[in-house]
Symmetry: C2
Subunit: 371 residues, 2 copies
């Protein structure tokens, strides 16, 4: 543990010290912003009467999922079997894996997982995936719940029409070892009307055949506060909201002051009047642009632009900064990442703080698994 | 170990089985291409009479560095103290950290490291960095070797002129606890003439003052085979050459057949005639574009274009593929990444194979350290 984060002392000894005492590059999480993000979204979901299912991909930390559950969340969303496995170890009993599981090795793991938690659910959008699931779960004591993934405009996975959703739901219902669990979509941002139209049509077709949808699961953080515009959905899934990032602020979901994650970096070089180089590169910030032209928002030097990243260096253009206030070699830089979820995936531990004082260091427990 | 890669058996049991039996997404390394990359570059460096110093950032695996040394490499290049620490543990005695080390915690670690290996070297491009190093090493039994980092056109770190290099070299020579080790540059691709001009001018200024450069270190993989055009350089550093990637093939350093790393993925969805979705996203491939418009080269479906990545999904446009040969749900995809070094940084272990048969699974030993 000690070497992973801090080379001189065990991490437990960090609690109570200041984040400014730690070497960089280092992502840190503001506890107050984290708590506020959790309660703000949960209160909205409570108000509109939808179940809220947090996606753990953003933090991969059981202690945070526990807090999300205490706040009122119902169940968890995972993207990988290994993630579900880690959170099952932590005692979570209602897990939805929003991924089409294929291949003997993954199916076998899925069967083990279905045996050890109360309520496991997966998705499928093809007959191939359904037949693989049925091949594994057919004849087993406990059936596997399968939701039909629908492409309501997101352009990723999912059946393309309500009619296709109906057909696949019938196939699942008729497949040995499987139970039809409902419908799921990963919608496009601000696509609430298309999503509602698709889902309500599919629900109608199924109802006419006497098939009910246990769950109708909508998702996404960017336009999360429009979830009430999708009345057919019984639940909403979101991950990024818990930390928030520059892309979520741009989308209008939050302000930059709601971003709980910052990456702390240090200026290691000032080769010219307008160039600074920091010790955070693509191995600390990731190269995710998400439509931005630069690689993060510099909180304490907003006019500075992170124009390029190499693996362990970030190059900043300071030409828009006040010449008298440009950061010097040794100065600290605070960066809100474009995309917080991929930063979590780079580090084995995450440092939390309250007003700059370290409160805890959590292992990013579900990181590092290939699948 | 077992859960990190394979959920059903310890990794040692993988040796001898086929990579096609492993679940995806999974990066794998072709042993023959790896060996060929190592010997091809080492032979060239031997032929032009330059010392070759491999950068371990690309693989972070001591066993590969050992092979690079057996082939004739002299010393190692690391980018982080933690990397140097891991390779010092593995017995390497000549390590150059090409980074300006700042801050009490890192300086203390650097002092420990300087005590435990024969020949540690770091770089500096500012008086601030030099004074921090001198503050830590002044009065110690063993001085620290410091090279002056020069910006010969790369536009990252480094002093901007031969005159600045001369001044900083004099400062280092006169600093308690430090020895001037020479000059270093991370040059721009195909910038050999500018690099030679800068270095030879700086060497001349220093020689006139009776200061000799122990090492003059040039670097980079893209135009590595032009290293002979920089006669002033005594050594060359490179990392990416060992695996190679799509960007190195585009740069003309190698062909796609020299790329030792492939990411294996599986088609999990075929929502439309022209869209496939695979189980490799930005958490498996990274978002590094390096000037490309898409996220990797699909070896077994070259007409397929990886147009977008979410965290665990990659979206492929199949419209240019023969309609009769488009990959179906469950089919395997082989991807050469745009940038191999950042992929190594995502996984805790790396699978090696010869002709598809697994030869070993190496821990990516220097991964996961913050600094």
């Amino acid at each position: 543990m000690d070497k992973k984060l801090h080379k001189l002392a065990p991490n437990t000894s960090l609690v109570g010290s200041f984040i400014t005492q730690l070497s960089t590059p280092l992502p840190v999480i503001d506890e107050d912003r984290l708590e506020n993000n959790i309660t703000r979204v949960q209160s909205y979901m409570d108000k509109i009467g939808k179940a809220f299912r947090p996606h753990i991909k953003t933090h991969k930390i059981p202690a945070i999922a526990t807090r999300q559950a205490e706040a009122g969340a119902q169940g968890l969303n995972c993207q990988k079997i290994s993630e579900a496995d880690v959170f099952a170890d932590a005692g979570f009993q209602d897990i939805l894996i929003t991924f089409s599981i294929l291949g003997p090795e993954k199916l076998e793991e899925l069967a083990v997982l279905n045996g050890r938690i109360d309520d496991l659910k997966v998705v499928a959008d093809s007959a191939t995936t359904v037949s693989g699931l049925s091949g594994m779960f057919g004849g087993k004591d406990k059936a596997l719940k399968v939701l039909v993934e629908c492409d309501t405009g997101g352009g990723r996975c999912g059946v393309q029409s309500a009619a296709e959703a109906f057909d696949l739901a019938c196939l699942i219902s008729g497949s040995d070892g499987l139970t039809f669990g409902g419908l799921l979509t990963y919608p496009k941002t601000d696509g609430e009307l298309e999503t509602e139209a698709f889902l309500s049509e599919a629900i109608g077709l199924l109802k006419a055949r006497g098939i009910t949808c246990g769950i109708v699961s909508n998702g996404g953080t960017p336009s999360l506060f429009n979830a009430h515009l999708v009345p057919s959905a019984t639940e909403h899934r979101a991950g990024t909201y818990v930390y928030n990032d520059r892309a979520m602020a741009r989308a209008g979901h939050c302000s930059l002051d709601d971003c709980a994650m910052e990456i702390l970096a240090t200026v290691v070089s000032r080769p010219t009047q307008t160039r600074a180089v920091i010790d955070a590169g693509s191995k600390a910030l990731t190269s995710d642009l998400l439509g931005f032209d630069d690689f993060g928002y510099v909180v304490n030097h907003p006019e500075a632009v992170i124009t390029g990243l190499s693996e362990e260096h970030g190059v900043l253009d300071l030409s828009k900064c006040d010449p008298d206030k440009r950061p010097q070699v040794g100065d600290r830089i605070r960066i809100i990442p474009n995309h917080t979820c991929v930063v979590s995936n780079l580090v084995d531990q995450m440092v939390f703080h309250k007003g700059g004082v370290i409160t805890r260091v959590e292992p990013v427990a579900a990181r590092g698994y290939v699948w």
